[in-house]
């Protein structure tokens, strides 16, 4: 047995975009975008408005299909798979948080959080029971029976985060998750997001144009004109 004595191999990327090109009609959104993210990493995608951040995120997550280039997840190419398979991937292995408008207004907070489990076939009582630790972890105690329309912006985003994480996704995709929040509330959400992701080893890819949000990530890349640039920080002169 060599367990515990193996040199830990550098983890390969869990997800990767290779030379991805995508246009919306005449509008080029991605023009050869490359991004490689290691398992457990948290990466911020920054860049000016309209530069292609959301399009890149959607390509990585299998929501959009590139015109050219490849997307690889967990060692397998996924952009060539059919919609059924990709939607199963999104449901079972990815979690999503968007800027707003993602909770089902008719459902209670508890039901909203349990939704991925319910859709995955877990029975109602068991699914609702599994939401309990998330109320503690995301500072939502007491809001179990509220409908999502009765939540503040920060509460709604924390519910969305719990819902994104409850099925233990391997990758959390977040697109401007604090975009609709004031800075104190936004930081609270980011703080909880980072704590939860670290605790569960979740890989996080977060699109944001806010430096203070990007600073929660381990590194950042910048999208400009549909291409990804990244710069290692070099030592600054005092």
């Amino acid at each position: 047995m060599t367990v515990g004595h193996q040199p830990s191999a550098p983890a390969g990327p869990i997800i990767e975009a290779r030379d991805v090109v995508l246009s919306f009609g005449e509008t080029p959104a991605l023009q050869g975008a490359n991004l490689s993210v290691a398992a457990g990493e948290m990466v911020a995608i920054m860049g000016p408005s309209g530069s292609g951040k959301t399009t890149l995120l959607h390509c990585l997550a299998g929501i959009l299909t590139p015109d050219a280039g490849e997307i690889h997840f967990a060692g397998r190419r996924i952009d060539t798979r059919g919609e059924t398979e990709r939607s199963a991937l999104r449901r079972d292995r990815f979690g999503f948080v968007f800027q707003f408008g993602q909770l089902v207004p008719e459902l209670t907070t508890e039901e909203n959080i349990a939704l991925p489990l319910l859709l995955g076939g877990t029975r109602r009582a068991a699914a609702l029971k599994e939401t309990a630790p998330w109320f503690r972890q995301l500072d939502l105690e007491g809001l179990q029976k509220r409908r999502s329309g009765e939540l503040s912006g920060g509460q709604a985003q924390r519910v969305a985060l719990a819902r994104a994480l409850i099925a233990r996704p391997e990758i959390l995709f977040a697109d401007e998750p604090t975009g609709s929040l004031d800075s104190l509330t936004g930081e609270h959400v980011m703080d909880l997001l980072v704590t939860a992701a670290r605790q569960h080893g979740t890989t996080v890819i977060v699109v944001t144009h806010e430096p203070r949000v990007a600073a929660y990530a381990g590194r950042e890349v910048v999208v400009r004109d549909g291409k990804v640039t990244s710069f290692a920080a070099m030592p600054a002169t005092p």
Binding site: V194, P211, A214, A215, V222, F231, A233, M234, A236
Partner: protein, 174 residues
């Protein structure tokens, strides 16, 4: 950070010994750079000479320095005035960034690359401050936030300047 005014502020709470002042200064304002004892006593001596504090009699018994310092009316007035004044906004860092960008453009160097490098350095520092904020006390968080907001302001300027580089290059060269 003005040491004399900060010590006056600490004395405004209550008459204190030199070592109490040093301890509180280090805890609140030192941030890993403790105030040397020599500087504490030199500062207190100057404040005494200028009539802003008075020195009590040595107290019998204990350590090398058992003198208690008391703030005077004059010292308290000066401190209050200072406390009520806004601090001058510091444009120094921005001036350096600006100088580098303009020089790069004048010399036909890659100003965009410089800005990208600066951007990465700023974000790196913001990451460090964010970690300090997440791990530390509320006081640490307040200080980290101050740094974060200033760095963010620089970053916004860096992004805006990056977006305007072509126009700037023309303006600088003409």
């Amino acid at each position: 950070m003005s040491v004399p005014l900060t010590l006056l502020g600490l004395l405004e709470r209550e008459p204190s010994h030199g070592y109490d002042l040093k301890r509180d200064y280090d805890a609140f304002f030192g941030r890993g750079k403790p105030l040397p004892f020599g500087q504490v006593y030199a500062t207190l001596a100057r404040l005494a000479r200028d009539g802003k504090v008075v020195v009590g009699e040595s107290e019998a018994g204990a350590g090398p320095d058992r003198k208690r310092y008391v703030i005077t009316e004059q010292g308290a007035t000066e401190f209050e005035t200072w406390l009520g004044e806004p601090v001058e906004a510091e444009p120094h860092l921005q001036t350096v960034l600006f100088a580098k960008v303009v020089l790069a453009l004048i010399l036909g160097r890659d100003a965009g690359r410089y800005l990208d490098t600066q951007r990465a350095a700023h974000l790196q520092r913001m990451r460090e401050l964010t970690e300090i904020k997440r791990a530390g006390s509320l006081v640490d968080a307040l200080l980290a936030d101050h740094g974060l907001f200033h760095l963010e302001a620089d970053l916004r300027w860096i992004d805006l300047t990056t977006a305007r580089l072509d126009a700037l290059a023309e303006a600088v060269r003409s």
